[in-house]
């Protein structure tokens, strides 16, 4: 036979499914089992909350995809190194199947394994939510997005494994997972305005609502963004062996895939980056948001100085004589009732205060703040719902806006000196029963100053609400607060009513308060 008699070259790209299946059977080993196991354990632990929802539990499972990714990264690297480590490179290279096709089958197997592993993790999250009595809707978009993110981790590991030794691959997996974890939890947690977090394969969970899903919902562009990365990485991996023969259909296809992937990742990456500032919310039109009174940053994602308007979605309510609390229906009435029982003592203590919040509604974003004297307070969804601890002093801080401002000023903010409000706050805390005059006096006598009066108020939450460090109560404020507590409540209430406009405006002097001269 001569060259001219050569049979028409059989296409070596078509039959990749057999090898994919063979590879796949051998990928379901320890790394994959460990990856799903560890991430599922963490997810179940994280999702073990008092008021479970399907959305949150599956969302946590999705988020733990970053743990799974480390194992998938290693799995990819292991598969890439297998021929080298088992000295089968020559056997594979002397077969008529082109190296690019062999790589494509392996990428296919890794993609299927990664997607299946993520699917299993997500399913565990769903089963966990149902087993805990969770309700709500399923955020289906997390499934394909997580599958793509998992496949990407495996492919990146494969790419590294092709060029690096095992030790570097292990380091790469640690850096990949640790890096995304760091950006996710440590960096973007406090810098979400930059939008960088959306570029992660698994974006952070805090900006998620059981009622609205992700806020903003980035998953349209995020899916395409991750898909772009997959095309880019996969295209380069497959095209690399063709570098000396880039005229074949296969090499061109791979290169076109890589270029398309680069374009998609760039375009949609830029779009994602802009999401944080654009702040597309599934709820009310941002144009309708109510200006807040302060200049402080209101937390993770609220575009200050706006607060989330009433979108009438928090419709499951519980009431007391002093307060009405409404939460998203998915959490159930028990949460609303629980919140009322936590907030009611404080609500009754400030019953006579002008402008006090009587309506607390759940919102998907923003820290707790009070709604600018609208008689409302907003309550951000907290999936762990440890409100028993966090909400002490919340309504009091709502009633005294500048005092509330102090908590957000923080160490880097400007100190606001409103001694009259501080003294009134102390009086209200004593009235609510959280703190006794005796405990305050003991604190003063023992030399404890500021917010660390006695044992109870020294909790971080109290410090958070009533000031930081030196911004806590001064001795003068404490003296006046205690004097007010010693007076008949009706008298203080009556006198404060006239002083209130000046008090909340921050223009009232400490000396003007009832009890100052006693």
């Amino acid at each position: 036979m001569s060259v001219s008699e050569s049979t028409v070259a059989r296409r070596s790209w078509t039959p990749i499914f057999g090898p994919v299946w063979t590879e796949l059977r051998h990928l379901t080993y320890i790394l994959l089992v460990l990856g799903v196991g560890v991430s599922a354990i963490v997810a179940i632990k994280q999702a073990n909350v008092a008021y479970p929802t399907i959305g949150y539990d599956t969302g946590v499972a999705y988020h733990e995809g970053e743990i799974l990714s480390a194992f998938l990264f290693l799995l990819g690297a292991w598969l890439a190194m297998r021929d080298r480590r088992s000295a089968t490179t020559d056997l594979i290279a002397s077969s008529p199947t082109r190296p690019g096709a062999v790589r494509a089958t392996r990428l296919g197997a890794l993609a299927v394994a990664g997607a299946a592993a993520f699917g299993l993790l997500w399913l565990i999250g769903l089963v966990s939510a149902l087993a805990h009595g969770g309700s709500g809707v399923i955020d289906w978009v997390l499934v394909p997005d997580g599958m793509l993110g998992s496949a990407l981790a495996a492919w990146l590991g494969f790419a590294l494994g092709l060029i690096a030794p095992a030790s570097v691959a292990v380091l790469g997996a640690a850096l990949y997972s640790g890096g995304t974890y760091f950006i996710n939890t440590q960096y973007t947690h406090y810098n979400t305005h930059i939008g960088f977090q959306w570029l992660l394969p698994f974006p952070p969970l805090p900006q998620w609502s059981a009622d609205l899903g992700y806020v903003p919902n980035i998953f349209g562009p995020h899916l395409v963004f991750v898909l772009g990365w997959l095309l880019l990485v996969g295209g380069l991996i497959v095209a690399a062996p063709f570098r000396r023969s880039l005229r074949t259909i296969a090499s061109r296809t791979a290169l076109i895939g890589a270029v398309t992937g680069l374009a998609l990742a760039t375009v949609f990456g830029v779009q994602l980056q802009a999401e944080a500032n654009r702040y597309t919310v599934n709820g009310p039109n941002p144009a309708s948001w109510v200006p807040d009174y302060g200049q402080y940053s209101s937390g993770l994602s609220t575009p200050d100085p706006l607060i989330y308007p009433n979108d009438h979605r928090a419709t499951t309510c519980a009431t007391s004589s002093a307060l009405r609390v409404c939460v998203y229906p998915v959490y159930g009435r028990s949460l609303a009732t629980s919140l009322v029982s936590i907030l009611d003592p404080e609500a009754r203590a400030i019953e006579s205060v002008i402008g006090r919040p009587t309506y607390v509604r759940m919102v998907p974003v923003a820290e707790e703040n009070c709604g600018a004297g609208l008689g409302q307070a907003v309550l951000k969804e907290q999936y762990s719902f440890s409100y028993h601890y966090n909400l002490r002093g919340y309504l009091i801080s709502c009633a005294l806006p500048q005092l509330g401002q102090r908590r957000y000023a923080g160490f880097g903010g400007l100190p606001h000196d409103f001694p009259a409000q501080s003294a009134v706050a102390l009086w209200l805390v004593i009235r609510s029963g959280e703190l006794t005059p005796r405990a305050v006096r003991q604190g003063v006598a023992s030399g404890t100053s500021g917010s660390c009066l006695a044992d109870l108020p020294c909790t971080p939450q109290y410090s958070d609400i009533f000031g930081f460090g030196s911004l806590g109560w001064t001795r003068a404020e404490i003296r006046v607060g205690l004097a007010m507590a010693a007076l008949p409540p009706a008298r203080v209430t009556s006198e404060l009513r006239e002083l209130w406009p000046r008090l909340v405006a921050g223009k009232l002097l400490l000396a003007s308060l009832p009890g100052y001269r006693q």
Partner: protein, 282 residues
């Protein structure tokens, strides 16, 4: 199927592993004989399309190893057992051979599985088909390597030091197997064991420092030593080689060591030693 080397050279830096090889190898079993470093493995790797020549060409029925498309055609007709055979330890024997069969473009599962079973039977591995490769001994692994090499019924079979690590019984069985395989194929068998060549090869190529010292039938190589192999009490200083045999006398290759020396029938090994000695006797 003919294998043609035309002025083939291959260098590794300043080391010339192959130096102007110009030979044609036809059907049958050809033994590549030579000491370590003679260039046998380099020659096979070039033919297996794993290594480009520095200059010259290697062709298989007209297809050159230097052209991308033609390389694929050569690979389609190739079975290769490398010297440093590696296998996937977690695969079973069947899975591994089946996987390689897929890469060798045997796509129909039923036909492929039949071929895999036949290949395993040919090397007498049908009983361990379901065992993980990591549990197998070195000899059995070698047979797995042969099975993968023959699974696609190649027209050209390249076997690089195939009997290394085999015990005598396995070696005999291997020779029988290769003998059968060589009936309808071109087989290139690289070895430094003369007895392998002597047992099964229809032709032999002797390589020495990258050059071909001899090409022909084993009988011709043996014939080179005719009249130059002696049984003697003492060796002469200009003997090509000499060693004491089990009858207490020396076997001497070279000029007659003395009047008492008696001529003996030469073996292939004698011919090989004579050829590779560079002796001007022949």
């Amino acid at each position: 199927m003919n294998v043609v080397f035309e002025n083939l050279s291959r260098s590794y830096g300043s080391v010339r592993a192959l130096d102007g090889i110009d030979i044609t190898i036809g059907p049958g079993i050809t033994g590549l004989l030579g000491p370590n470093g003679a260039g046998k493995t380099t020659m096979l790797r070039i033919l297996a399309t794993l290594l480009p020549p520095t200059s010259g060409t290697a062709r298989l029925d007209g297809w050159s190893t230097s052209h991308d498309r033609e390389r694929v055609e050569i690979r389609r007709r190739l079975g290769y057992l490398p010297q440093d055979l590696g296998l996937y330890p977690r695969f079973t024997v069947f899975e591994f051979v089946d996987y390689l069969a897929m890469l060798k473009e045997l796509h129909d599962p039923r036909q492929r599985h039949r071929r895999v079973r036949e290949a395993l039977e040919a090397v007498d591995l049908q009983d361990v088909a379901g065992r993980k490769i990591r549990t197998l001994s070195g000899g059995i692994r070698r047979r797995v390597g042969i099975a993968q090499a023959i699974v696609a019924d190649p027209q050209l079979l390249l076997l690089d030091e195939p009997t290394g690590g085999l015990d005598p019984e396995q070696r005999v069985r291997f020779r029988q197997l290769v003998g059968r395989l060589g009936e309808h194929r071109t087989v290139l068998l690289s070895t430094h064991l003369v007895e392998d060549v002597s047992a099964i090869c229809t032709s032999v190529v002797v390589l020495w420092h990258g050059r071909v010292l001899f090409q022909g039938a084993p009988a011709e190589l043996r014939k080179r030593a005719e009249g130059l192999v002696w049984s003697a009490q003492e060796a002469s200083s200009d003997a090509v080689a000499s060693w004491r045999t089990d009858n207490g006398k020396l076997r001497v290759i070279g000029a007659r060591p003395g009047p008492s020396a008696t001529p003996v029938e030469p073996t292939l090994e004698d011919g090989y030693l004579l050829v590779t000695s560079g002796s001007p006797i022949r």
